[in-house]
């Protein structure tokens, strides 16, 4: 998220404010409801990789892993001016990276080394990400 902000704070400042405002709203008010995201952005049907719904006509994409209504892992992204992210090297890199982390997280959730806390609000356990 910090990289995303640093990369786009000059050219997309207002968009960033809106995205952060919506993230704050999800955290404090409404939760990470499904329709706030463009689902199925990853290549695997169950990878939970999605994009935060971009402001109409702005196209600043922020890719995420939506674990549940209470847990979203926010990645990186960028302006999407192509039909599919595969056509943009920067977006391809970001989506592939977040798909990679999604794989690790889902594997760890399955084998129990990573757990969702009882209140559903955070991860518990050891999380080691290898790039």
């Amino acid at each position: 998220m910090d990289h995303f902000i640093a990369d786009h704070s000059k050219d997309c400042f207002q968009d960033l404010l809106n995205i952060l405002g919506r993230l704050k709203s999800m955290g404090n008010e409404v939760g990470a409801l499904e329709p706030y995201f463009k689902l199925d952005e990853g290549l695997e049907w169950d990878d939970l990789v999605c994009a935060f719904y971009d402001i109409p006509d702005k196209h600043l994409r922020l890719y995420c892993i939506r674990i549940s209504e209470n847990i979203v892992i926010v990645g990186n992204g960028g302006p999407k001016n192509v039909r599919t992210w595969q056509e943009d090297p920067k977006l391809s890199r970001e989506v592939n990276e977040i798909m990679h982390y999604s794989k690790i997280i889902r594997t760890k959730l399955e084998d129990g080394s990573l757990r969702i806390s009882e209140d559903g609000l955070k991860f518990e356990g050891d999380l080691m990400l290898t790039r």
Binding site: N18, G21, K24, S25, Y53
Partner: protein, 148 residues
């Protein structure tokens, strides 16, 4: 290659000056607008689920050409027109607009009838009241309205 330490060790109080600075740049009234849009979307989404509908069902019910417009409505980014909100709340049987003019409790008016005996009233009003009664041709039921 990089390693992250245990989540339990680092996860509790992660903060970022960059994010905090940007959040501070959002005026309260702007955040309020964002919150309202997100909540309206959440309410429409809940209305859809209550009916067992998907976006396409609402699009059909409103004779929209494409369900993608409904997706936009549900995204939390859409600036709705009043007309659209009226249409949606009618179709989904939910309330998105509150147009009550007053927040006061509605007035309850109760009418009931009692017989007033002039002799039981104070001396001051006995004579004038008796005169009215006489002119009216005798004692009549009197309607008293009490407004709570």
């Amino acid at each position: 290659m990089f390693f992250m330490a245990s989540f339990d060790e680092i996860n509790e109080n992660y903060s970022s000056d960059l994010i905090d600075d940007l959040l501070d740049s959002i005026k309260p009234e702007e955040q309020e607008q964002i919150d309202y849009k997100m909540k309206i979307s959440a309410k429409i989404f809940a209305g859809l689920k209550a009916k067992g509908w998907k976006s396409v069902d609402l699009a059909d019910a409103l004779h929209l050409k494409s369900p993608s417009l409904v997706s936009k409505w549900l995204s939390g980014t859409h600036n709705f027109t009043v007309d659209t909100l009226i249409d949606i709340q009618r179709i989904l049987d939910i309330k998105l607009l509150d147009i009550e003019l007053s927040n006061e409790a509605p007035t309850l008016k109760v009418n009931f009838t009692v017989l007033v005996e002039p002799a039981s009233l104070g001396e001051d009003i006995y004579e004038p009241l008796q005169r009215v009664i006489d002119e009216a041709g005798g004692i009549q039921p009197t309607t008293v309205a009490i407004v709570y």
